[in-house]
Amino acid sequence: MGMITNLMAQQTIWRLPEESRALFATLIVAGAFVLILGLIPVLQTLPPRGRRAIIVTVTFLAGLFFAAEFFLPVDWTAIFPKDDPKRNFLTPAIQPAQNVLQIIGALALGLGTFGLVRLHLRNAVQKRPQWGYSIVLLVSFVVMATLSILNTLAEKEIVERGPVLERAFSILFDYTLVQLDAAMFSLIAFYIFSAAYRAFRIRSVEASILMFTAMLVMIGVVPLGAQISPALPTIANWVLAQLNAPAQRAIEFGVGIGGLAMAIRLWLSLERGVT
């Protein structure tokens, strides 16, 4: 196993020569796009069972890698004396797998942005109701995306950071986006306060326990609690550590067992509607 890992680490077949590296890289990437996207008509000819088989196989293999890496014993030196006794043969592959999943994760996050832009572009083009706001969104998106990409490239000194870029990004990020984000989430405080007066009703034993604990925690952990009585913070901390903690642990156990069952079902594609 160590021999295979060593072969893969050798850079001769996996690395393009330095001369014309950019050209070869561009050609290979273009070829990869053509090949992978060109597979789509081929995949499309598969019957539904064949499609499901591919999805199930990919899911299983992706899970098998991480599960096997965790479960396999680490010390294989009895069979492969030159191996590292602290890792099994799959462990070195974790790092490249990490790279692949980060790239796919980034593309998955980009999917949300793509969907949003697509929706509002359609609103604007088709002049649906309130399409003016969609224009606002799209203009903000384009301007911020440009500045964000340029700013991140400038941080890595790939492009030059001029005073205009610095000031524009600062205004849009520090003084607009950050302020809007903070203001948006601070609205919840008003709604909680309004709900506290209009909706929080103590009608049962359970509601009484919940409200009493909440009030004890709300007053006990803040500085005012210590001013009212030195015992209040002690009682509040005791409630959190000795009464709240076991309840949370019981919830954790339930979530853990449920999560394990769900993980196995997802790994083996037993869950309907996912694959």
């Binding site: 890792r87 462990t91 070195p92 974790i94 790092q95 797998a97 990490q98 790279n99 999943l101 980060q102 994760g105 980034a106 998955a108 996050l109 941080e155 890595k156 000194e157 790939i158 990020f173 520090d174 986006l177 950050v178 302020q179 984000d181 903070a182 989430f185 601070s186 405080a189 008003f190 909680i192 306060f193 309004s194 506290a196 007066y197 209009r198 929080f200 009703r201 103590i202 409200m211 009030m215 709300m218 007053i219 952990v221 803040v222 500085p223 005012l224 609690g225 210590a226 001013q227 030195p230 913070p233 901390n237 959190l240 550590a241 709240n244 903690a245 949370q248 642990r249 919830i251 954790e252």
Partner: protein, 268 residues
Amino acid sequence: MLSVDRRWLYLILFVNIVIFLLAPLRMPASISPPVQKFYDEIEKLQPGDLVMISSNWSASTLAENQPQLEAVITHLMRKQARFTIISIEAQSRDISYRLAERITKEKGYQYGEQWAHFGFVPNLAVAIKGMVTDLPNTIKQDVRGIEVTKLPVVQGVKSLSDYKMIIDVTPSGTVPVWISYSPKNVKILYCPTSVMAAEAYTYLDSGQIKGMITGAKGAQEYEQLLGIKGLGAPFANTISFSHLLIIFFILLGNFAMLMNRLQARREA
């Protein structure tokens, strides 16, 4: 009484907060055991020890996480510890980088020598596994595009196991991921927003996290232990009175409901 326009309630809350932010109150905090443990763990650090700060908060939780991160970085610099920052939230990348740059410049900490920012990674679990296996090739380069192998702050570091501590400053459930995948020899400290704190007491009990600072009030306690003036104190003092107001209105609402019921019975 129950049909009062909710806008009056919003105004009452707003005025309450303005009054108590402006009031010259100085209520010292009662140091809670999790914050004391947090402080004690960082006090145990030796000069040159390496700490990973996971900063995952965005502007939406600025008021709670910013005082925490500022106090943590101040304490680490006081202990002359080296630290690296990583973010799993896109906005947090720039927020934490700019904040750390400002604070470290004030105290003379050099980027690259004593601290660095590893940028943004969307998938935390595989990133941690990658860092445990091979940190330089997982992170590759910092936010400034410098290769990790060329950064003096992590010279010779091959794995996350070479770190002494992980400090998770977060508004979301990322600490279970750190607990699940990080090496067992690395201590974990937690700086959640108050929303996440109640659930974390089970990890404190089992020793999976060694200390915790809860939101703005935790930041006040920590600032008090450090002897510094930060945003935690004015925020925590004002929170006290906004809580008093909410409790009063909860009781008032229930009292109003009771009165309505009694009146309805009388009329019936």
